[in-house]
């Protein structure tokens, strides 16, 4: 009767097993430091330009749109607070994670998927290498390290975008903007602003690797794995941001 649930439950179980093995490999040799640094370059440095751009634009838009509403209450000077809280708590981590998921979950899934369909993963195992240790763990470490950094940069660039609108369009003083933006932040905001990207990073790396390693059916299968990885990673990110946000409301 519940047969239709069997496949998704088995998939989730496989996902959890893969994740535990990938994390366990962090503490087990051999360690592939070169692969970790290479992935940091691809995931972190490679995503840098788009993250900067979107971070800046989100700060600019936030400041412009909020200023209109705040003017009605004579609170235009508080635009720094709005931009700061929204970016650090929610939009910075969310937008950065969605961008990195679109760029890297798909990249990871297609790369590992291509290796799977051309028997390179089997060849690795036959030639003495654990593909989880060699491919999954470095991507997990690199994403978990780089996504929080990218988020911090995105938040900061967003605040600069808001400051430019505040200064040149709203004629708000520099110190007023930066003081209000900084003072509104409490440890709770910064905590969830940093925990979210860390959790999202695990999701992005593991979902990409999981769908890559399950790829079947040649090049068409690689395309399907790539698309599925991005969609599933995005759904997880939306669900987790709501859940983590909710948890932090009670802290």
């Amino acid at each position: 009767m519940l047969d239709f649930l069997k496949a998704p439950v088995e998939s989730f179980q496989d996902f959890i097993v893969l994740s535990f093995r990938a994390v366990g490999n962090i503490f087990r040799s051999p360690h592939y430091a070169d692969d970790v640094f290479q992935q940091m370059d691809i995931i972190g440095v490679g995503s840098f330009p788009i993250v900067i751009m979107i971070g800046f634009v989100s700060g600019v838009i936030m400041a412009m749109q909020m200023a209109r509403a705040l003017t009605q209450y004579g609170a235009q000077g508080e635009v720094g607070q709005i931009v700061s809280v929204a970016l650090v708590r929610e939009l910075g981590p969310l937008l950065t994670a969605l961008l990195v998921a679109g760029r890297n979950s798909s990249g990871i899934a297609s790369e590992i998927g291509s290796m799977k369909v051309t028997e390179q993963l089997d060849a690795m195992r036959a030639l003495g290498t654990d593909p989880i240790q060699k491919l999954v763990t470095p991507r997990l470490i690199a994403t978990a390290f780089m996504l929080p950094l990218l988020t911090i940069i995105s938040d900061f660039v967003g605040l600069i975008g808001g400051w430019m609108i505040a200064r040149y369009l709203l004629n708000i003083g520099d110190s007023q903007y930066w003081t209000s933006a900084w003072q509104i932040l409490v440890p709770n905001d910064i905590g969830q602003g940093l925990i979210k990207p860390f959790v999202f990073a695990i999701v992005i790396a593991m979902v990409g690797c999981f769908y890559g390693m399950r790829t079947t059916g040649g090049t068409q299968g690689v395309g399907k794995a790539t698309t599925t990885a991005v969609v599933v990673a995005d759904i997880w990110i939306f669900g987790l941001t709501a859940m983590i946000g909710r948890i932090f409301l009670y802290l």
Binding site: E119, A123, L127, G128
Partner: protein, 289 residues
């Protein structure tokens, strides 16, 4: 042109290199292997025929521990591998060379790096070649293996720069560089023109001539099996020629035919030619030999 010099791991005469005991494996409702039993010893060759999806590649992957059987027992070098952990399997796999159907070359690595991969990544081989002159030893063995397949000039190229036949030859170099006790070839001639296909078979004969390695070869072409059973490699002329000791050579070469995961034929070439099963005979007719 010489075969890599490292002495092969000891394999006692009469010891089973591979043994399958009622091995079954299903992919959902589809049988991959269905009650397969056979054994082979050092110096023997098995030629495995079968239609696409009949379980030939699955058999090779189960023999190497890349797939776990649902039931039955698989022994590699007299050690049961059905329930071994992946880490423990690595040391056994170091004694096996495999050529994958799709080549399985790492496309982000150069040809030299591809061939060096098992030497640098297999724990027992890495330990054996550690010490002074380690990297020189690896480089020398890589060059020897590539010279063996007559591709010594491709060291710094990438797999995508080579033709299909050349990639297959690099795959053979990577399989033999460790001087394994067992070689598994998955469709070494599939998709190649007859001239290149015969070159590949000549290389397999050359390897067998030099080291007498136990070999399982999966193929669709009857001619491949016929050449393995009746021809030898003449190192002075560099060509295949009809073996002078055909009876002796044929005795070590046996033929398998698989159908829907089952081993439906196991015997010599003469027995294969005399077989009456219409499925088995299909492989004879298409061979044209």
């Amino acid at each position: 042109m010489t075969q890599p010099q490292t002495p092969p791991p000891p394999t006692t005469a009469g010891t089973d290199i591979v043994r399958f005991d009622q091995v079954s494996l299903h992919f959902g409702a589809t049988p991959g292997l269905d009650g397969v039993s056979f054994q082979m010893q050092a110096g023997e060759t098995r030629v495995l025929f079968g239609a696409a999806g009949s379980g030939k590649t699955t058999l090779l992957k189960v023999a190497l521990g890349l797939l776990k059987p649902d039931s039955g027992h698989v022994y590699l070098f007299d050690q049961e591998i059905s329930n071994l952990k992946e880490q423990d399997l690595f040391d056994l796999r170091a004694r096996v060379g495999i050529l994958f159907q799709e080549g399985g070359l790492f496309d982000s690595l150069t040809i030299a790096e591809n061939v060096a991969y098992p030497l640098l990544n297999q724990r027992v081989l890495r330990a054996a070649s550690s010490g002074n002159g380690h990297s020189a030893t690896v480089a020398e063995r890589v060059l020897e293996a590539l010279n063996f397949v007559e591709l010594g000039e491709t060291l710094e190229k990438f797999p995508s720069e080579l033709s299909g036949g050349m990639r297959r030859r690099v795959g053979i170099a990577r399989a033999v560089v460790t001087t394994p006790a067992l070689l598994l070839y998955d469709s070494p001639t599939a998709g190649l023109d007859p001239i290149t296909a015969n070159t590949i078979i000549a290389l397999l004969l050359k390897e067998r001539e030099m080291r007498n390695t136990a070999t399982i070869m999966v193929t669709h072409r009857y001619l491949d099996g016929h050449l393995m059973a009746n021809f030898s490699y003449n190192s002075s002329s560099g060509k295949m020629e009809r073996a002078t000791n055909i009876a002796e050579e044929s005795a070590t070469v046996k033929f398998f035919v698989m159908n829907e995961g089952r081993l439906v034929f196991d015997g010599s070439e003469a027995e294969l030619q005399a077989a009456e099963d219409p499925y088995v005979r299909k492989f004879l007719r298409h061979g044209g030999a």
